[in-house]
């Protein structure tokens, strides 16, 4: 084993942020539930590993897009729940429109011969 040096790239990082924001758009979730939700809403295309998920969550919390609070999960266990803030909602809107612009531009580019 050698020391790991890879880290999610900027692009992937941004995509992950967008997916997390989207996953939280309908209510608070705890960490792994967010990963689960992303898997669901992307039809299993994205499988978010804890090693990417948790650093992203903490970063977004510190940026003020998310707030965390301890609550009870469905099975009555204490868990740390993440919820969107107003800034988080704005960020979601912004990133969504950014993504649409980029993806339609790339789609247009791919359509040309």
């Amino acid at each position: 084993m050698t020391i790991r040096r890879n880290r999610p790239t900027e692009l992937l990082q941004g995509t992950l942020d967008l997916l997390i924001l989207k996953a939280l758009a309908h209510g608070a979730l705890h960490g792994l539930a967010i990963a689960h939700r992303i898997e669901q809403i992307t039809n299993g295309a994205f499988e978010v590993k804890p090693g990417s998920l948790f650093p992203a969550l903490h970063g977004m919390e510190e940026a003020g897009w998310l707030v965390a609070s301890w609550g009870e999960s469905r099975n009555g266990r204490k868990a740390k729940f993440y919820r969107l803030t107003k800034a988080g909602l704005r960020q979601l809107e912004k990133e969504t429109s950014d993504w649409r612009r980029v993806s339609s531009a790339i789609a247009a580019a791919l359509r040309t011969a």
Binding site: I3, G51, H58, G59, A63, K80
Partner: protein
Amino acid sequence: MPSFVNRIRALCRNLFRRRAVEQELSAELAQAFEFLVETKIRDGKSTSQARRLAAIELGGVEQLKEEIREFKAGYNLEALFRDVRFGLRMMLKTPGFTIVTIATLGLSIGANTAIFSLVNGVLLRPLPFPDAQRIIYIEGKNTAAGISESNISFLDFTDWSQQTDLFASTAAYWTGSGQFGADGAEPERVPRAGVTTGFFSVLEVEPLLGRAFRPEEDHGYPQTVAIVSHGLWKRRFGSDPNIIGRQVQISGSSMTIVGVMPPGFEYPEQTQIWVPSAVNLTQEPRDNRVWSAISRLNGGIDLKQAQTRLSAINAQLEKQFHETNKGWDVFLSTLHERVVREVKPSLLALLGAVGFVLLIACVNVANLLLARSAARQKEIAIRAAMGASRTRVLRQMLTESVLLSVIGGVAGLVLSLWLTNVLMSMLPEGAPRLEQVRIDYRVLAFTLGVSALTGILFGIVPALQASKLDVTSALKEGGRSGEGHRRTSARSLLLISEVALSLILLVGAGLLIKSFLRLQEVRLGFNAHNILTAHINLQGPKYNPPQFVEFYRQLKERLEAEPGVQAVGGSVNLPLEVSGYAVGRGFIPEGRPRTVDESKDAMFSTITGDYFRALQIPLLSGRMFEARDNADGPKVAIINEITAKRYFGSPASAIGKRLSIWAAFRGHDENFMREIVGVVGDTKMGSLTGEGEMQIYVPHAQDSQWNFMGLLIRIAGDPAAFAATLRREVQALDKDQPVYNVRTMDDVVLNSLGTRRVSTQLFAVFGCAALLLAAVGIYGVMAYSVTQRTHEIGIRMALGAQKSDILRLVVRQGMTLALIGVIAGLAGAFALTRVIANLLFGVGASDPLTFIAISLLLIFVSLIACYLPARRAARLNPTVALAEN
């Protein structure tokens, strides 16, 4: 900026409530783990299976935590604190290593800071005048006559000054000393300058009190107004605010003080009194090249434009005034360049040399760190296993090395305070701008920068090595001293560069030392030992030319009566006196037409007493001056050997020939012939490195215009001890005449070497330091390598290798590297010694003897440094060696 505020809040939380943050992190991950386990159980796995799968999915908890922390605000800051704390703990754990490293770094950074302080003060700090880079200095040169820098003629200067579109203001000035007396206190000689009215406006410095000179005050000799320096005002007038308007006696004239300059203003040199230039334009000869000149360029004009214009004007002047201007051109430099011209090459060479010492020290410390990082393999492997990324390990190692170098840097800064003072006291008198040497922001920035850079430089190789480590095998080896191949080659490279760097520095030092030895061998042409020299400059209404002669004759008689005095003489020009007058005059042998083209330049000395006997200059032919060579007797002269050979064939055939003195400037030449009555040996006059100077001597009694004399007193015993007697005897003749510049002739000779002596000494010190560091470094590498190879050596011995085989094995390994280093160093030295070519004397920049000798020296030192560890290896007991691992 809500995001920014959030970040700050998070930063504070992470830094100051770390425990809570960490607890929350642990709880969150624990919950995540449980969640995963439950999911797996729901999928139908057994409890133990579920736990195992959950652990795999989550990854190492500690690694995950570290990855999260890296995303959190303040991570870098916090990591830095942690690294520094850990670094300090490591330093305390290995005090020997720490002390050696900090001492090595402290000494070399200290030496670098001290030299840089000098460079900063002398070369980097701007002159203390507004817009100083626009002030230029004007000099003359005459390539045909071999004069590369000269003062200028006032009349030429006047023609150049007309170019008002080039110059905002111009000024000419002379320097000398003045006899200053006030309020009946004992008179003293102080540096004095005579300046034209524009002087203070060129420099843009206003008097602190009173005013600058007015144009109508510069009306010829004697001057009636004076401006004094802040220092003189404080010392002699107790900072009296009512000084303006006071009458003082300066060199026998009564003058009114009209101004006091601000503190620190002493331009030129250490001037204490400024008086009007007293130039008399109607009588000033065009070839009286004794003036200095400065001017302030107009905005938008650069040095080159000004130079082109003045050269063009000069070409006109040369045509118009052939008699006086033949071959003369003008050249400009910034005032700053001019002031530092003599010392700049030495200073830069020293800065380079001391930089090499620091580089070598870096290599040594890198070696130590490399050995230590090998010992820390296991610790680093554990860190990596706990989730430290490669950058993280690299950063921690670099933090440790920069910590070492910064502590070394602080020690060095403290040390440099003392070193700088030592350096300043070593410098010869008259070295420019030393008052500007101090610790300022530039010096601090330099030390800080050098320290940080040093830490990175010596830390980077070991840190890269450490972070490249393979965790699994390092842990498996369990700290066994397996020496990686890469680490060995890094160490070899360090050894090679260490030898190469030392060789380059030592060759530089060797060349300078050889030059210095060559200078010592220079035949002065006189015996400087046991001579006291001093100056007297007769002032006051009671003196006129006949009295000048009489005063020095009487003084000689009185001094000769003192016990131990062997000979007393004097001259207007003392040999090798840097600050003295150098009077050049031409002569024309009898029978040649009296035109400028026939005039031969010679150093001209009007002498009194037993000048030749005092200096023990040999008489080659004819006779010395005698009492009969007085004002009424036939006019006579003595010439030196080279003049005799060049123009009269030989010393013997010169006797009885006649010549006429063609003055330094027209109007002062003698319109009569002098008969050559003697020929004496050549002496060095201007400098030790000069040669073939023609010299003419005439007796004071026949050239009595000179009121000043440099005295020479040859004494049996310590000449310095005679100073008090000399003062007493002069006072007995005239209590108003100060004796100044009292020192031994040995000092005069030494001082004429300028900064050369100091730079040679320093180069030698740096060279020795480099040699010592290299020896220690090579020894360290080889000793370490032997320790690493103990097991292997044990096997070799067990297989029948003899002690001599082992000895050869180790020595060969080290010497191969050392030899590669020597070859690399020779190439480097060959390229770099050119830089100091202008500091050398009598030895080429790639002098083969020096190169060979220094190479042999380094090879010899390397051999010893390799032999000692090799001997230890050869003495190993194979049983013990094999058992070791």
